[in-house]
Amino acid sequence: MSKSEYFPQKIYVEKKSFDFPLTKRILKNVGPVPREVIDDPQEVLDDIKATKDIIGEGKKYLLITRQKGEFVKPCPCTPGYLGCNYFILNIDLNCPLDCSYCILQHYLTNPLITVHVNLEDLWRQLDIFLHRKRLRTIRVGTGELGDSLALDHITGNSLHLVSYFRKKRNAIFELKTKTVNIKNILKIEPAPNVVIAWSLNSSRIAHDEEKGAPSVEERIDAARRVSETGFRIGFHFDPIIRHPDWEKGYEEVIKKLLETVDPARIAWISLGSLRFPASLKAIIEERFPKTKIIYDEFIKGKDGKLRYFKPLRLELYKKIVGFIRAWGGEEIPLYFCMESEDIWREAMGWVPKGEENLEAYLSFPLG
């Protein structure tokens, strides 16, 4: 897959999803891509399963279907570690980028790039959800089961989502991406409660492990352009990965980031070290035989996932927090994704008193 905009080799439209406005918009935006109306996606999945690289093969095709369950779900986080009270919107599933460490390789049973088109149901469910949570400031995002902007040139969903959330002041809405697919974002008026966020890594990890993603410099530049229109921006160093010269690698990116964008425009930076279920390891070995990232010192954490042995995690976090503070990010809210209280205490110097306390800390810049 090239680093330019993603276009599928073929689009499969589930019969009952054909008449939705988003379906028509997608079919118009993709141009001359072959399309087929199908009764059941299982037919397509059976063919894909007979290929060597099911996950890679699935990324070539776009499935248009309806979300039959809930669009809004609490972020699953992980048992035994501190969560951040985040909610996810499952509009797109799967991602055209092909990062070696991606959890979706293990998590999703359907390898096709999937777009749910019944947006009327989404708005209705969101109205109910936000009304129920009206006494809190809720953080919601679309970037957990897919990249928030990777399909935006085809779906145009960012325009609709920003317009919707602009009016919902008890929500902070985040679009999280590794792409530079910001054409739509640059067109719309910024909303104070919408954060456009990028996942960042050291240049070496981005180059070696994030196949199809733009370089770190391109991502930071896209963030600058978006922040200059008035949007607040966020960053996620997740997964942080130990590799030769990792200190230098992460410091360079942090320096570049804080020299390029105004730290005052940064809503938050999250940190999370590489972690994965044991079953993902076999998938990574098979799909990315050259990668070495899974052969570091991983232990089974309290949630059963493999994560770096604690002293190694702590070393990573202390250094990276130090780099952010040293290069001008003293005031930026930082938080850990799926970490224990003792890691918080030792690396950040404080521990949130539960998830709602963390939610309030991250909502504070909203004023």
Binding site: A50, K52, E297, I299, K302, F309, P311
Partner: protein
């Protein structure tokens, strides 16, 4: 299909093109034939004027053991290899479970006899209770190419798919060098050895053979007083330390401090798994209040010792 009586000499057992089973014991079948005779005749096919066995290896070998000179057989008129093999496959499928290596042989024969790869994945893998992916097919085909000695060990040790798949990552020479470590070890330890060795090799860009030929490994293997199991265990520890240096060093420090505390055997102090949590646990058992008091006093004494405080600094 015709039924006829064949002399055992007429069946060419050297031709194993349809054979999928190699490891079985004959005792119970021999007893059954002695008691009630051969109820289900084997299936043979005529190829180049010779009868070759399609299905029923165990039955024929039992008959030979019993000294029988002839036996009833079904002769298939099918000339196509794939169709002939499928007859044997479906006959077995209906009556028994296949072992891992039998599944490997079945899939290798299907491919050899020209069955379409996609069809093997979609139709036959589910029949063999294997998730239908091409990658699984490739793994099983690799297993079918293993050396006979290794196949015997896999069968005898009833090695699971995950361990056998690890073996497929090694070349034949490496697999040969690994046999003395695998033979005395149980399933879990075998898997640890295979996994740690491969991961050290990949992480450090060193061939597994080079690690197996290192001085440390050769010294252990050449130690006269160690049993095969002790050698395998020592090498397993050596690999574990190389694979997880920071964790191993933390464990060693903890054990060292614990040793210096000279705890009675009845009191066990443990860190959390992999030192992931801040807490430690103490376990002891007691049969009466006197024993409880003694243990508590001993624990109280411990808290004043320097080594005890040092344990907490390990966190």
């Amino acid at each position: 299909m015709k039924k006829k009586n064949l002399s055992l000499k007429e069946i060419s057992l050297e031709d194993e093109r349809f054979r999928i089973s190699y490891y079985f014991s004959l005792e119970k079948l021999i007893l059954s034939i002695q008691k009630v005779g051969l109820l289900y005749p084997p299936l043979v096919a005529l190829r180049d004027k010779h009868f070759i066995l399609v299905s029923g290896w165990k039955r024929v070998l039992a008959c030979i053991k019993l000294g029988m000179s002839s036996l009833p057989v079904f002769v298939t008129e099918e000339e196509e290899e794939l169709k002939t093999f499928l007859a044997a496959f479906y006959e077995n499928l209906a009556t028994r479970e296949f072992y891992l290596l039998e599944k490997a042989e079945i899939l290798s024969r299907l491919k050899k006899f020209g069955e379409d790869e996609k069809k093997i994945v979609q139709r036959y893998l589910p029949l063999l209770d294997i998730p239908s992916t091409l990658s699984n097919l490739e793994s099983y085909l690799a297993f079918s190419r293993f050396e006979p000695e290794l196949k015997r060990i896999i069968h005898e040790k009833n090695m699971p798919f995950s361990s056998v798949k690890l073996l497929a990552g090694y070349n034949p020479q490496e697999r040969k060098s690994l046999l003395p470590l695998l033979l005395p070890s149980g399933q879990n330890r075998m898997k640890e050895i295979l996994e740690d060795l491969m991961e050290i090799s990949r992480r450090n860009d060193i061939a597994p053979q080079k690690i197996l030929s290192s001085k440390e490994v050769l010294d252990i293997m050449g130690h006269e007083k160690l049993s095969p199991l002790q050698k395998a265990d020592k090498i397993r520890f050596f690999l574990k330390k190389k694979r997880y240096p920071a964790l191993s060093s933390r464990k060693e420090s903890f054990d060292y401090l614990l040793n210096k505390l000279r705890l009675p055997k009845t009191i066990v102090v443990k860190p959390s798994p992999f030192f992931e949590e801040e807490n430690f646990s103490v376990n002891f058992s007691f049969g009466n209040s006197e024993e409880l008091k003694t243990n508590l006093l001993k624990l109280q004494e411990l808290t004043s010792k320097q080594e005890f405080s040092a344990i907490f600094k390990l966190k």
